[in-house]
Assembly symmetry: none
Homo-oligomer: 142 residues x 2
DNA sequence: CGTGAATTCATACTTTTGGCCGATAGTATT
DNA sequence: AATACTATCGGCCAAAAGTATGAATTCACG
């Protein structure tokens, strides 16, 4: 997975840095050995602190956006589901009867039946419960 | 790509760190003062790096284990929904007809009708779509 | 302006579902 | 043993849902 990969890469990079520092240290003699070691330790310490802080900051966000539904417009277009049909589908999902849907949309039950029939064709279903299941699969409704 | 981005960012951070160190080193010849300066800089740098890494780690977590459903047993007990009734409810959710459910469970359609009727009473519904909606609200089904 | 898609409605018919009754059998509980 | 709950089944009727077909209207687009 990319996550593990990035962690490993990070570790490798870290090791490389330390190696370079060591190399530079021995190459151009100079400063005391413990300084870089100290720096390394401090770096590690503060990185973990940063990770902790970062997690703390984002923890609230972690819980929130977990259930955010977005309608798959592409799928809708692909199936050729119209606005009106989608309205009807949504109301079916809310458990309304044809009569109730008709009243809500100010049309006759005949119209609703036509819409549902067309929906069933497009969703390859023969019952409303089946249509709901399919629509959920296709990410058309939540 | 995110991976490449992280490597680049890390590299930039390293370059900045080294640059600052060098700068400080040549500018002030004082060892004791610059040590603390180094440490401060390193600490700040690595904390922010850590925050970034931490955010990265949690951000992935947000997307991946999004939402797995767990049935609300308490609610089921409260409503007095039996095992068999729950089976039927699940199959209704999958879009099956009474006949199909009956065949799947090796019982008659009469039995399924009895179960559904009882379910409707317990879920305060009068249609299967409504029952599904209610059951979802109550976290009984996904 | 014509064409096609979308929306609307109706009628007739079939299938599915739901409401209401009663009944039997097994299991668990008291 | 009596009681309560679960699961099973059947019949009857009515309501809801679904199928098929045809048709009128509106509306966007070329």
């Amino acid at each position: 997975m990319t996550l593990r990969k990035s962690i490993i890469l990070y570790g490798v990079a870290m090791a490389a840095l330390i190696g370079i520092l060591k190399f530079a240290e021995y190459r151009f003699y100079v400063r005391d050995l413990s300084l870089e070691l100290y720096l390394g330790l401090v770096a590690a310490l503060f990185v973990s602190l940063g990770v902790w802080v970062g997690r703390r900051l984002t923890r609230i966000k972690v819980i929130e956006p977990s259930n955010q539904f977005s309608r798959d417009e592409a799928e809708m277009k692909k199936l050729g589901i119209t606005k009106r049909e989608y309205e009807v589908l949504s109301l079916i999902a809310e458990g309304l009867s044809n009569k109730e849907i008709a009243d809500k949309l100010f049309v006759s039950t005949s119209t609703i039946k036509t819409h549902t029939s067309n929906l069933f064709l497009k969703l390859d279903a023969s019952r409303r419960t089946q249509a709901l299941q399919r629509a959920k699969e296709l990410q058309i409704i939540p």
